[in-house]
């Protein structure tokens, strides 16, 4: 009886996968849209079209006083001076391109275009407001778009009711998966050897141990029954914050509230760690090489890593960047293993052996797109056209990735209630999971840093700064 049941389930799963998935299912559509954007971005740079880059606000100050050097650098502009014809041209181009690509995707998934496009344009308008807020001098430095997208979305959904006509555009997973495929192009595998075995030892030995530790802590000790939430928070803590949370959350099919909670906790603690970690390192008298490596391995966001590393000097900054560069490439691998683990262990509630075909059916296909993009950038585009060209392409693509994620996080906010997020805190257990997990991460990274860089066992490496 049990055998029959198993067979019928397997058959059903197999029947659910066919060729039409390639142009009807969200995962594959995200892959194709991501590839279209990558191809256009690549051609834009290599052929010198120079028109494809998406809209980006320059940083502006509302209440702060900028120094004359900052004003002369050209990186800052008053809000009013940004609103030029070229600005509105970019605004329209970005909106139209995203509406066309996501519109085609939505249509292929069965959505009516007449309903999707107006709703999408309103969502895009909200996303513009989010990016406007997150371009403000102080807000830009500490919080940026993911936080503000959630905040604005939550504010709308919890004060005004989200109208039904807007809901066809609220497609969180679709935007996230597309953004991740685009992001794949920036994950350069060659970074793995940048700091030799030292970097590998600090970034890669520690990361999976912290993930397993937090998984055991969350599911066994704290008994948090929401496993995707535990997984998403573990990846955010051990890898690189928001980007890792987005990738892993999508890989283990975490709920919207899980992702928003993991991202919010990671962002808030990153602000604290960016300030206090260099202070403590300096007080302990650690060498800049060890201090920078510790920062690179433990502070979540890359921006905070560079800033905190710089606070300790040039050598520390370089060490921090090297270690973080390795962590940045871990995102895809962690997401891959998490997807396989959830397909075979967590979602497989009957606890039977799962064949390759069934793993394939359950496997989130956008991760394939992420890997293909990463491999093409690392082993084709970079060797043929040079790493500078890859950097220029990624500068173009990064804005599309950010727009996709802003649309996703705004959608999460629009679709979530404060009560649900508070419920997801599991009475504060999630906060303790992060705090204990991060403390373990810091201690283990400190041990790895001491072992490899103190000169007690291995020779101290020399960095050129």
């Amino acid at each position: 009886m049990k055998g029959n049941s198993t067979n019928s389930t397997t058959t059903a799963v197999r029947n659910n996968s066919n060729w039409s998935d390639l142009y009807k299912k969200e995962d594959w559509l995200a892959v194709w849209i991501g590839f279209i954007v990558i191809i256009l971005g690549t051609l834009d740079v290599l052929l010198g079209w120079d028109f494809f880059a998406a809209l980006k606000f320059k940083t502006y100050a509302l209440w702060e006083t900028l120094t004359p050097e900052q004003l002369e650098s050209g990186k800052y502009a008053s809000l009013g001076s940004q609103l030029t014809g070229a600005f509105f041209g970019k605004l329209v181009l970005t909106g139209v391109l995203l509406a066309v690509l996501f519109g085609i995707g939505a249509k292929l998934m069965g959505e009516k275009l007449g309903k999707f496009i107006p709703a999408f344009l309103v969502l895009y308008f909200i996303a513009i407001i989010v990016r406007l807020i997150s371009a403000e001098y102080t807000l830009n430095r500490y919080l940026e778009w993911a936080f503000w997208a959630l905040f604005v979305g939550l504010l709308i959904s919890n004060t005004l009711r989200v109208p039904d006509w807007l809901k066809p555009a609220v497609k969180t997973e679709f935007y996230i998966k597309t953004g991740l495929v685009i992001m794949g192009f920036s994950v350069l595998f060659s970074n793995i050897a940048k700091f030799g075995l030292y970097g590998l030892g600090i970034a890669w030995i520690v990361t999976p141990i912290v993930i397993i530790f937090m998984w055991q802590l969350g599911t066994r000790v704290l008994k948090i029954d929401n496993k995707p939430l535990v997984m998403t928070l573990s990846a955010a803590t051990s890898v690189c914050g928001t980007s890792a949370a987005i990738a892993t959350g999508a890989a283990c099919k975490a709920k919207k509230e899980d992702l928003s909670l993991a991202v919010s906790i990671s962002i808030i603690f990153t602000i604290l760690m960016m300030v206090f970690e260099p202070m403590i390192i300096r007080a302990c008298g650690m060498t800049p090489l060890m201090g920078g490596s510790l920062i690179g391995g433990t502070v979540d966001s890359t921006g905070a890593v560079v800033v905190a590393g710089t606070a300790l000097g040039e050598e520390a900054q370089q060490a921090a960047v090297l270690v973080k560069s390795i962590q940045n490439i871990l995102i895809g691998f962690i997401a891959f293993f998490v997807a396989v683990f959830f397909a075979t262990r967590v979602d497989n509630t009957e606890k039977r052996s799962v064949g390759a075909s069934e793993i394939w059916v359950r496997f989130p296909k956008f991760i394939i797109g992420f890997f293909v993009a990463s491999l093409v950038a690392s082993f084709i585009v970079s060797p043929v056209f040079g790493s500078d060209q890859v950097g220029a392409i990624n500068k173009v693509l990064d804005q599309y990735k950010n727009w996709a994620f802003v649309l996703a996080f705004t959608s999460i906010g629009l679709d979530t209630h404060f009560k649900t997020i508070i419920k997801q805190m599991h009475g504060g257990k999630v906060l303790w999971l992060y705090i204990i997990g991060q403390a373990f991460n810091i201690l283990l990274t400190l041990f790895a840093v001491w072992l490899l860089l103190s000169g007690v066992i291995f020779p101290i490496p020399t960095l050129t700064v």
Partner: protein, 108 residues
């Protein structure tokens, strides 16, 4: 006693949460932790979000004598080993849960 303990944990958790948020707000309000010469901060989540990231990422900052393929092999080997450990732990957890459930059912 247990109820009393959980109340203390809840209070401590709330205090911790509020302290963290207040501390983050204080840092932001006073612009702490920033470096004047850098026009970004914790808000740049991913390296590609950092303007001109290449100026921090010197190509030859470290010259390794270990070939890249060795790093790749070690990377994949450690990843696979850790994945197997994770699966083994999870299987053990599930067996433990099953036994506990059986014991509970048996007692009833």
């Amino acid at each position: 006693m247990k109820k009393h303990g959980s109340k203390i944990v809840r209070v401590v958790t709330w205090c911790m949460g509020i302290a963290v948020i207040l501390c983050a707000l204080y840092i932001m309000a006073n612009g702490l932790g920033l470096v004047d010469s850098l026009d970004f901060g914790a808000g740049a989540y991913y390296y590609a979000d950092i303007p001109a990231f290449e100026r921090f990422d010197h190509k030859n900052a470290y010259r390794s004598s270990v070939p890249m393929w060795v790093c790749i092999v070690l990377f994949l080997a450690w990843g696979w080993l850790m994945y197997r450990l994770w699966v083994w732990l999870e299987q053990r957890n599930q067996r433990h849960d099953q036994q506990s459930n059986q014991n509970t059912t048996g007692k009833k």
